[in-house]
């Protein structure tokens, strides 16, 4: 059964108001809470370590898998999940972790997600992180995502951390084969004394592979953010990495984009920008009747949407 805290966490990390339709696996406080499989999507508990295998049959279309993790007890949770996405499948995977901590002790979740996206498959992967509760204990989330995208396959990643996570270290590694395509959209907000580090490494291994990584963040108060965006073109390929941050108050942001071409056919671009909210933007919205705080919120919400 889901209590009110569970429901709130599920809503924040997976947009779920109740138990979802279709395939799902809900993990609560280190244990399986609930699971459902379908004719095309199987979920199997790993035997050698904590975690699950999600197996999507070839050709599966228009199905989704929800695998949220919720923590309402103080603990360090660790999970290894493996995704096997069959050829020509087209699915949405909604992951994410929510921590509710009302204690003075730290609570955290480390998740390692490894994907094998077979030829011609399409995956949209949504990962949201959220922290809640009045306790002084830290809420820590350290996701590792390893993605192997085979020939002609496509992956779209939406990585969002908007509220309540005190410390995070994200590590994302993606390898693309021939004609494979990757789109990454990362959104991150930190405030108070929170810290966030994101490392995204993209290996363009196959000819005509392409990748676009756009990271947007807002750092407020005394928080600190570091971004390492690395892209390596091994052959004829196209890649674009972009890191935009709005810095406010006494926050600190480091953006370290790196592109490496290992072939004359590699076309790689990086952009990085850090700055405060432009006063012209605030003034424009105030000229439409918003007060300064509303204008600021509108700009930040849009930037992180």
């Amino acid at each position: 059964m889901l209590d009110s805290i569970d429901k709130k966490l599920l809503k924040e990390v997976a947009d779920l108001h109740e138990i979802p339709q279709g395939a799902y696996n809900i993990r609560k406080n280190g244990e399986k809470l609930s699971r459902n499989t379908t004719a095309n999507i199987d979920i199997v508990t790993k035997e050698d370590k904590p975690g699950i295998d999600i197996i999507v049959k070839p050709g599966t279309k228009n199905e989704s898998v929800h695998i949220p993790v919720i923590l309402s007890a103080t603990m360090d949770d660790l999970v290894y999940n493996t995704f096997e996405i069959g050829e020509d499948a087209d699915v949405i995977i909604v992951a994410g972790c929510g921590i509710h901590n009302n204690t003075g002790e730290d609570s955290g979740h480390d998740g390692v997600h490894e994907f094998f996206i077979r030829r011609g498959a399409k995956v949209k992967y949504i990962e949201k992180h959220f922290g809640d509760g009045d306790g002084s204990g830290k809420r820590t989330l350290n996701p590792t995502t390893i993605m192997n995208i085979e020939e002609g396959a496509t992956a779209e990643l939406e990585l969002v951390q908007i509220k309540g996570v005190d410390n995070t270290k994200r590590d994302t590694v993606v390898r693309l084969e021939k004609d494979a395509k990757l789109i990454v959209s990362e959104r991150l907000l930190t405030y108070f004394d929170q810290t966030a580090e994101s490392i995204i490494t993209v290996e363009l291994l196959g000819s005509n592979s392409s990748a676009q990584v756009i990271s947007r963040s807002v750092a407020q108060n005394d928080s600190k953010q570091i971004f390492h965006l690395n892209m390596r073109g091994h052959t004829e390929c196209r890649g674009h990495i972009q890191c935009d941050s709005i810095i406010m108050h006494n926050a600190e942001v480091s953006a370290i984009p790196e592109i490496t071409a290992l072939s004359e056919g590699a076309e790689l671009v990086h952009e990085a920008a850090i700055g405060r909210i432009a006063s012209e933007q605030l003034t424009k919205l105030m000229c439409l009747g918003l007060n300064e705080q509303e204008a600021e919120e509108t700009i930040l919400q849009g930037f992180l949407a």
């Binding site: 947007r216 935009d244 432009a278 012209e280 933007q281 003034t283 424009k284 919205l285 105030m286 000229c287 439409l288 009747g289 918003l290 007060n291 300064e292 509108t298 700009i299 919400q301 849009g302 930037f303 992180l304 949407a305």
Partner: protein, 241 residues
């Protein structure tokens, strides 16, 4: 009615008065075009009316209410609007968002008609992000649409024609006429363009921070000698005319 009494605006370092002791009475349902040499104080005056620049002296009244001490937002809510000469771009804010913030009527059909009024295809533009992908002219037209979205007592347009192509320019002049015909809004346009000047009930000539003349468009456009004072547009020169 908008009334300016002895309004002055100083440069940030107070070294010079950009707008110097200006008195103006602007009536509802009239079009005023402010023109004059570059650096004369036209934009500064408009921004002072909107509250973007503080006044260093004088008062501003809107329908008899002293709004001199009011903020930008308060003036906006009282019915003053300002279309920027160079509107800002926004990452993550879409045309739909901006128009919805501005519009009194937020129906999709209304938002579409606003874009049509400035010569933009709504289907193509409504869900576009207001980022660097917009040309200056496109951005300018969305900016004007954001002003047309509101029911205003005073609408200030700062060089609305700048960066806009000839075809859209024609549309723009029709839009100003339509606004004038269908509302009581006092329309104030900063412009140097003849076709905009011809829309005016009155042309306000500003140079060196002062009003040099308030006249009819024909006087400026029909008098070949009006601007022939050799190389000098100072108030004294205009006063000699």
């Amino acid at each position: 009615m908008l009334e300016l009494k002895n309004v002055s605006v100083s440069a940030k370092d107070n070294s010079v008065e950009i707008v110097n002791n200006v008195n103006l009475s602007l009536e509802k349902k009239k079009i005023y075009v402010i023109t004059g040499p570059n650096g004369g104080g036209k934009t500064s005056l408009a921004k002072a009316i909107m509250g973007i620049y503080p006044v260093s002296g004088g008062e501003i009244y809107l329908n008899g209410e002293d709004i001199t001490g009011k903020s930008i937002s308060e003036r906006a809510l009282l019915g003053i609007g300002y279309a920027f000469q160079s509107p800002p771009r926004f990452k993550g804010l879409f045309v739909r968002d901006l128009l919805s913030i501005a519009a009194d009527d937020k129906n999709e059909s209304k938002l579409f008609s606003l874009l049509a009024d400035v010569g933009l295809c709504a289907q193509d533009y409504i869900d576009r992000e207001l980022n660097a992908s917009f040309s200056g002219g496109e951005l300018k037209r969305v900016e004007i649409a954001s002003i047309l979205a509101r029911t205003l007592k005073v609408a200030l347009f700062d060089e609305p024609e700048a960066g806009i192509d000839l075809w859209s320019f024609q549309k723009l002049t029709e839009t100003f006429k339509k606004l004038n015909e269908t509302s009581d809004t006092t329309i104030v346009i900063i412009s140097h363009q003849e076709r905009i000047l011809r829309l005016a009930d009155n042309v306000i000539l500003i140079c060196n921070g002062k009003i040099a003349d308030i006249t009819e468009p024909d006087k400026i456009l029909g008098d070949i000698d009006y601007f022939t004072e050799p190389g000098c547009y100072c108030p004294n020169c205009f006063a000699r005319k």
